[in-house]
Symmetry: C2
Subunit: 317 residues, 2 copies
Amino acid sequence: MAVLVSVKGDKAEDWMPHFESALPGETHIWDSHDGDVSLLPDVDYAMVWGPQASLFKRIANVKAIFSLGAGVDHILNAGTVPAHLPVVRYVGDDLTARMGEYVAMQCLMHLRQHSLMDAQQKAGIWQQQPQPAANEVRVGIMGLGVMGAHSAGVLKAIGFQVAGWSRSAKHIDGVKIFAGMENLDAFLAGTDILVCLLPHTPDTFHLINTIFLKKLARNGVLGGPILINAGRGKCQIDAEILEALTDGTLKAASLDVFETEPLPAPSPFWSLPNCFITPHAAAWSDRSAVVAYAANQIKSHRAGLPLLNVVDRQRGY
Amino acid sequence: MAVLVSVKGDKAEDWMPHFESALPGETHIWDSHDGDVSLLPDVDYAMVWGPQASLFKRIANVKAIFSLGAGVDHILNAGTVPAHLPVVRYVGDDLTARMGEYVAMQCLMHLRQHSLMDAQQKAGIWQQQPQPAANEVRVGIMGLGVMGAHSAGVLKAIGFQVAGWSRSAKHIDGVKIFAGMENLDAFLAGTDILVCLLPHTPDTFHLINTIFLKKLARNGVLGGPILINAGRGKCQIDAEILEALTDGTLKAASLDVFETEPLPAPSPFWSLPNCFITPHAAAWSDRSAVVAYAANQIKSHRAGLPLLNVVDRQRGY
């Protein structure tokens, strides 16, 4: 038995120690995306990040494909993944906790006017400013999976008012839930800080656009709505967010994701004074944790146990 | 009956609407610090911020003095406050919550390498960085009153390891407590991020100095110890913190307080790249909440109920 690995972007040698530690002698890197899989006839699982379409033909007989990061859009959109082939999402405490860190920090930096404080520091100005409290601010989280639910709990602990929107109804203690597209407008109308943790699916593609942003609350204590996107860049239209940040539709934003990543060097986003940019690192996850997660599932599946967190191909996540 | 008010720094007219709302027709501003109190013979309480020593002689017959902000050092150090006169601390949910916001945000900004992310953004660089998780970082809180205990809870919710030090033993769920000066070194040796929320007392004066800072953990995942002081500037020696931030004793700091406030314009602190400065605003509190708190205590005390949060003059807080 063997596990095929395909890693885009990251250097395979950086991952290899983790594979070797989790599945000694078993993992084979499909490097340069043209390796000959037929030389590995007993490959029974694949672990991939950003696979090329041609990979799927070569691994049609594996028992499951594991994503080596959050999200599976990089797999589902790469080509035709055979319908019978289970695709497994990464769900990890580590990833979940890091997303909570990012969401809490960005909400707090907007609440506590960090840009203004930073500007005052650079100018040597000691000046207190009127400062709303977290409990006056309504944070709305789109996407209430494990990461969304955890982030909601952290924000509640800090003191924010928290609401959430998801495709289907959920229950999270102390969080007002809006479910389905028919309740999206009501959700947005009561949101001062929008936190997008949505996966990229046909339903969420380009969802965050000018019309959408104009539906956010404008009567809040922060002086205008704020967007935080740590989901997927394909859920937004970059050009329309840029316009919104320039014309006042948005007061500010925190963007960890973009339609095109890496964000190109000439992008005007870099120099926006009201936008905190991070390099798709909100839920930067420990490689060893991701690999251990997939390896543990492979071992238990080989032992006859069911796979966990298998993607619903209809929903797309 | 009447309530005398003395407010330093802030313009009295900014406070007046809150006094009028809480105690209509009762409050009299002792403006310019030389008003003739004898003209107000029925003054039974005082609400003060930064009083002059001469005030105490004039209000020796009041039933209590209320601090119009966090801390009472501005009262106890202003002159001889008659021993029989109760001094009441402000304890408010609002103040407590805001301190939790500040502490969480500063810990997160250091954890998530905000200075580096900001520098990358300014340079148009899209580059993920190795990123420790909160559960790898040990935050130590000095001062476990209401604000310290709340901050500990918020940090726990985010995922940090949290320990605490206080003068006397406390219990906070999930927080390792160190009590008394005899356990201070052990506390510091296990602390990556030190959060100081101590009051200014003879015991805490200049506590945070070179010798103290060198006792902090140097084996943590953040690459060096970090100091956050949102207590009182008099608890630290500014010059020695500056040196520690320059020579590597400290990796970074967040300072909301200084020995001299406002921080003078020529201070080298302003331009330190590894120090976030805020203008004594960590627990910026709503004036209306502070005034309502004092007014409610005055009303209940007049009705025969005991005062809450009276300062222990021996401890100094």
